[in-house]
Amino acid sequence: VKHEHLEDMLQAAVELELATIPPYLCALYSMHPDANPAASLIVRSVVVEEMLHMILAANVLNAIGGQPRVTGPTHAPKYPHELPDGVVLDLLPFGPDAVQAFLQVENPQYRTSGSNSSHALSDRRPQVHQARAATVGSGPTTIGAFYDEIITELEKAAATDGDGLFCGDPARQVTKDYYYAGGGAPIMVTDLASARRALTEVIDQGEGNPASMYDVDGDLAHYYRFEQVAVDRTYLRRDTAGAPSGPSLGVDYTAVFPMVANPKSDEYRDPDLRNASRAANRMWSLVLRQVEIACNGQPAALLPAVHTMFRLRDRMLLLLANPMPDHPGRNAGPTFEWDLPDE
């Protein structure tokens, strides 16, 4: 039995997790080297967990016989990117706007004081691209509610089909041999229980447990990690939500390459910048291709993908360090546009 709707939802989940990665990478690499050590560690700790979430969603999709896709203009994310709850993901340098956006992404209850739609940004959002999750779910929804809906659908299908639902080849699962250092080990999904575990981990690490600021591993949930950056104060163990009382993180928004918001390769009229941007996009596209191969039966493809990620970082840094002649005070940045021919 094909479960097209479930596959669509899980494919949308893979894309959702993937879409969160470029904005975090922009914040991370726009920080000057050696500046903002505490903030960069926080952004890094979150982005590697988003990578884990993408792999977990892909494992569930593989478990029910699906084929995760992350390549090509259809599946690679486009920016600005609107999540199913209306939050817009922009490509921004590390700064108050980016931190406000991260707080929103990580906590559906959080409402920004308006900076996420600030005037400065509005003219850098010519077209907003909707996440696939906004169309395959039952309506406007938070990320957590979207995953709850998937779990409910999985339970229904499992009740109807029994073991037939989890018909995927276990060899397609990405295991801890190849995925590592990303906020926990991936979970091998072979049945309803493991599927539930995998998706619950995504919800738990992302939005956190309403009862606690800390996740099951004892780490602060993403929202609280970013709140520390927003108020430039560390949470101590005894602190209650909203009132961190520890030392300053030493947040320095000036030690940042002032990347232009939501850049596009076509905007780079300088040929050197345009070439650098294409090189970065090719590297990003190559990462996506290697991830897709890894999630379609060849998990060892993640090993060379690590090398490609280093090369992507180097190309991002090259763009971020370069001023844009026609945007005084602004630097170039990665555009994260798909740029590889079909194979």
Partner: protein
């Protein structure tokens, strides 16, 4: 200097030194529910992620990138620096005739902070050198005694290797065993060289040896086997946000293992200390053990006097005494001997401080015909170690070659020196300069020829009241020579590397006069420029009699039965493996014996 009131504190075990041996013993004993105090002479900066990051910044900013460049010492815990060998200054007082070429670090984590991570076992024949070849001495225990502890050590420090690569020269593993992690992939250079060299034969004495480029076991994280969890960066923040621990769960091929792995994918002793039971462990850093108190009637140690300082740049300190049921010196081969000697515990055997060894090492460098991908990957992922054992050891030292992945960095200062040479000496510029560098840098091959050294009583650490540090503690006085056995080994190693270069079509560019300065020693009509491998050993040798040795097979002092001396200082001989894995195995064996004794 301010001498505070001597306060007393009591533990089950007092450990001196937070390096690999101190950390391993602290972990084992605290997990056996024993209360342990670790005194560390230097700062504990490597214990926190921020502190470690500070060392990384220090390394980035350093103009020279030597093994010490990331790890500056505190005023009150001075340490040797290889740059001192040429200037003649520094912590060591060297009386010659040869210069001892190695250094170590006095910080929490010890020299594992800047080791390369190679984790070879010693060969079975290394333990029986005298019986088999009539040279050196035999160990009082053999390979089979130590084999189970080698496995434990490989688990504790996290070694990546495949047993299939390591079964040779008599080294055995029990059926079904493999290392906790898969081997680090061979570099492109390893693969190119293997294609050219594997199978070539070398005649030495009356025997033929077949060479094979072999993957090195490495204490670097790789793909785990079974349930093994690779241990990433140490992150012990007070507020519980251990966000850095995701770093370093796999080696990412940074070419900076020595002096500092930027992501902590390489083992350092702080990782082990972080696994100890924190409720039973007190780690006191910036606490310099200065004297061992011994009860004159029983010969038992009654306390360790130590000097505590708050400011690493000031000699202001207070004096304290720690006492326990058992005392463990795990401060380094040189520091263990120094502390015994300054406490007047030279002992009846007269062996304390003697038999100091190293692996004096020659660089060989050349240019391959085709690019071999130099300057990529961990500093070394493979070696040529077929001449670590064999009948020739009756005549001269054994040796092994590290195959570098970092071009001519170590012997000449490449790539900077290569650029300077191309511009200044050869007058190249523009696209011709770029083409030249692309061609030359990618073809740079480097071997390190590490040669065995036998124990000699005249090679020794001593103390002299004329030479003291800021706290008034002794500086080690080193007397050191390299004998004909080792020099003949250097000559043989030179012939072998030249044959290997010829076989692989590598143009030999070895020219110590033009390269980085290293001390030299003459043999017959030739001069060998050598450097140390950091492999200090032999200052409190193990043996089966109190007359000829300092410790027994448990590394327990013959004369002070509640005192253990851990580390490579206990090695009667050291073969050609780097000492860390073997001393970790010995320490785990000692810890087992301590637990048996104290828990009962």
């Amino acid at each position: 200097v301010s001498a505070g009131p001597a306060d007393e504190e009591h533990y089950d075990v007092v450990v001196i030194g937070a390096g690999v041996n101190g950390a391993l013993v602290a972990k084992q004993l605290t997990h056996a529910k024993l209360r342990v105090l670790v005194l560390e002479a230097g700062p504990g900066t490597a214990w926190t992620f921020d502190g470690y990051s500070g060392h990384l910044q220090h390394f980035f900013a350093a103009s020279g990138k030597g093994p010490e460049s990331a790890w500056p010492p505190a005023l009150n815990a001075p340490q040797p620096d290889t740059a001192d060998i040429r200037s003649g200054g520094g912590y060591f007082v060297q009386t010659g005739p040869q210069m001892y070429g190695s250094s170590y670090s006095r910080l929490l984590g010890g020299s594992t902070l800047h080791w390369l991570g190679v984790s070879l076992r010693m060969l079975p024949e290394d333990f029986e050198l005298h019986t088999r070849y009539g040279v050196g001495v035999d160990w009082p225990l053999g390979y089979t005694d130590l084999e189970p502890y080698y496995r434990m050590a490989e688990m504790e420090i996290g070694v990546a290797a495949d047993v299939a690569d390591q079964v040779h020269l008599g080294v055995t593993f029990p059926a079904g065993y493999d290392y906790p992690m898969q081997r680090i992939p061979p570099s492109w250079s390893d693969q190119v060289l293997a294609a050219a060299v594997d199978g070539m034969q070398i005649r030495m004495a009356d025997d033929l040896y077949t060479l094979k480029i072999r993957n090195y076991p490495a204490a670097r994280n790789s793909i785990p086997r079974g349930d093994y969890q690779p241990v990433g960066a140490v992150d012990q923040p007070a507020d519980g946000q251990a966000l850095a621990r995701d770093l370093g769960q796999r080696c990412a091929g940074n070419t900076a293992c020595t002096p500092i792995c930027p992501i902590q994918a390489k083992y350092n002793a702080a990782k082990t200390l972080a696994q100890a039971d924190p409720t039973r462990l007190v780690v006191r850093t910036q606490a310099v053990a200065s004297r061992i108190h011994v009860d004159p009637d029983s010969g038992l140690v009654s306390g360790i006097e130590y000097q505590r300082y708050d400011d690493p740049t000031s000699s202001r300190h207070t004096v304290h005494v720690a006492s326990g049921r058992i005392y463990v010196l795990a401060a380094h081969a040189v520091e263990n001997a120094k502390l015994l000697l300054t406490s007047g515990l030279e002992g009846a055997s007269g062996q304390v401080g003697r038999n100091l060894m190293d692996h004096p090492c020659l660089y060989a460098w050349g240019l391959s015909k085709d690019p071999i991908g130099a300057f990529r990957g961990p500093l070394s992922t493979a070696g040529l170690d077929d001449l670590r054992g064999g009948g020739f050891r009756a005549n001269h030292a054994a040796f092994r070659f590290d195959i570098g992945n970092d071009g001519w960095r170590a012997p000449t200062g490449a790539p900077d020196a290569t650029v300077a040479d191309a511009v200044s000496a050869q007058g190249r510029y523009g696209s011709k300069l770029r083409d030249h560098l692309t061609s030359v840098l990618s073809r740079q091959v480097r071997f390190s020829l590490a040669v065995e050294q036998l124990p000699a009583p005249g090679n020794r650490v001593s103390v002299d009241p004329r030479y003291t540090d800021a706290l008034g503690n002794a500086r080690p006085v080193l007397s050191y020579s390299i004998d004909d056995y080792t020099l003949a080994g250097m000559a043989a190693a030179t012939e072998v590397y030249q044959a290997v270069f010829r076989q692989a079509g590598i143009t030999d560019c070895t020219d110590p006069e033009a390269g980085t300065w290293f001390p030299s020693v003459t043999y017959q009509d030739r001069e060998f420029h050598y450097h140390g491998m950091g492999h200090f050993a032999g200052t409190h040798v193990m043996g089966d009699s109190p007359e000829r040795s300092v410790v027994d097979t448990d590394q327990r002092s013959w004369e002070h039965r509640n005192l253990f001396l851990l580390g490579s200082g206990s090695f009667p001989t050291m073969g050609t493996s780097n000492p860390t894995l073997t001393m970790a195995a010995l320490t785990l064996r000692s810890a087992e014996s301590l637990v048996r004794e104290l828990a009962s």
